[in-house]
Symmetry: C2
Subunit: 332 residues, 2 copies
Amino acid sequence: MPKLNHQILLVSRPAVSASVDNFRLIEVPLPALKEGEVRVRNQFLSLDPYMRGRMDDRKSYAPAQKLGEVMQGGTAGVVEESRNPAWVPGDTVIAMFGWQEYGTSDGQGMRKVDAGKVPLSAYLGVVGMPGVTAWYGLNRICAPKPGETVAVSAASGAVGSVVGQLARRQGCRAVGIAGGPEKCRYLVAELGFDTGVDYRSASFAADLAAAAPSGIDCYFDNVGGAVLDAVMERMNPHGRVAVCGAIAGYDGAPLSMANPRLILTSRLKLQGFIVSEHLDDWPTALEELAGLVASGKLKYRESVAVGLASAPEAFLGMLRGKNFGKQIVKLV
Amino acid sequence: MPKLNHQILLVSRPAVSASVDNFRLIEVPLPALKEGEVRVRNQFLSLDPYMRGRMDDRKSYAPAQKLGEVMQGGTAGVVEESRNPAWVPGDTVIAMFGWQEYGTSDGQGMRKVDAGKVPLSAYLGVVGMPGVTAWYGLNRICAPKPGETVAVSAASGAVGSVVGQLARRQGCRAVGIAGGPEKCRYLVAELGFDTGVDYRSASFAADLAAAAPSGIDCYFDNVGGAVLDAVMERMNPHGRVAVCGAIAGYDGAPLSMANPRLILTSRLKLQGFIVSEHLDDWPTALEELAGLVASGKLKYRESVAVGLASAPEAFLGMLRGKNFGKQIVKLV
């Protein structure tokens, strides 16, 4: 009797906003392993904002997710069976098996990680792609000097929380922008940000001005839209904006920028990036991040949805800011 | 009987669009020179888009022009009288005497130039601030590689015409964007651009795509607004945008940017600059530009308004693209 695998497919593209109807959960038999193959039982799925972009079939930095195929994404799991001498059962691995219980591979695209040093799920967040994203945008694009003010949006999320903590460690004032008072309190009390600003508050623009009394030198942007507009008004001359995400506009019509003339009058640099194009920096970044997590100097938080079937709702909730910290799915 | 000077003052700020009513021509006596002073008879006034920004009293890279004072701006003239040993009558000088017939100075802010090598008026354009602006934005921000496509707006103007010619000399495809078929023909026939695109045409977006079949790697932006929006859609991954001006939005409400998400998805760099903050590069740039003009390898064109009284109308016309080449006022 063959073992079964469960998978979530993308079956349709959003007209405007994504919905659970764009996904379908299916059950398929697991084929027997061939010579050279490895089977991994996924323990955690990574849910990331970039996935929303791939649901659309339009020009972007990554090709569109194909319809009728397993939703792509990062996974953390354990080798269960191996016909490949490089892998043995019990190995903990990071891969891109997507939204399914089991992944099968010839070993390509799998990375062995030490789940004793840091928890396995952290390799999907603070010591994984989101952590390196924070590291790269902050160090390579913003390049803040000690004493400067660094603002970051989606600040309690997987990327933003790392940006603010690294900025503080570099002697900068860290201003976190997040949705709601609970997240803002967390930024200061748990992560050590200098201050948190609630973008949902009616007084957001004034709160932001008060939070950055010397203006903003660097902005790590995960959201775009109205928050970007407000931050640009507070940027100091020669400010740097690392454009990492635009989640405010991912799930609907494109958002405009209110006053691009500020790029000229404040002599700003805005630069978009995608961390997968900068693989040279990954080892340095991962080593630093893993060390800081292991020694308790870099904190993180996870939003955990349980069971494969919960992935679509958890993903859609994340697009609306319902998560609090890195959004993952724990498979059971 | 004292000699007379004529001056144009800024007497009010535009509510939205600038008008001739914002200026006033006055006649004042010229005071006798004091010890150490020099008197220059201005032959040419420089009219530049940045002046529109200074007419408003809002945050920008330069302080606002004060009301009741002579409109500021670059000038080219001849020393008529000197009580300063460093200057003798007949010296040709560039200065910032503004919109008036005579300038008086202790020598500060005056620069002697060789009007035999290149015509005196060229020091206000191709071998002056606009030329260095083109040189800086192209070389220091765009930094195009041979074979890349460089687009520039306001391409027949003082800055844009230099950008395209320098790009061609660096082995790039030069795409000029200008208003109307006459200017576009001039770009190709006289300046050697690869092609010219008329932004006023109904088929502008399609024409731009055809003009840059391999996409656009570098964009030198003088105008902002809808032209910037259209160019951004054609930018290649890792494209660079030197944000030099936003003339489309100078004389009215701020213009938005339609699709800033492209900064992320195409991993673009947009960088604003003002050439007066990069004085280190001026000598290198000016030497190169003067050499190219003297040897006939760098061409330019001037729109000449005659007489001090013509300055306001010529300035307002330039904001609407009525000029064809560098706009100057020749004093008589």
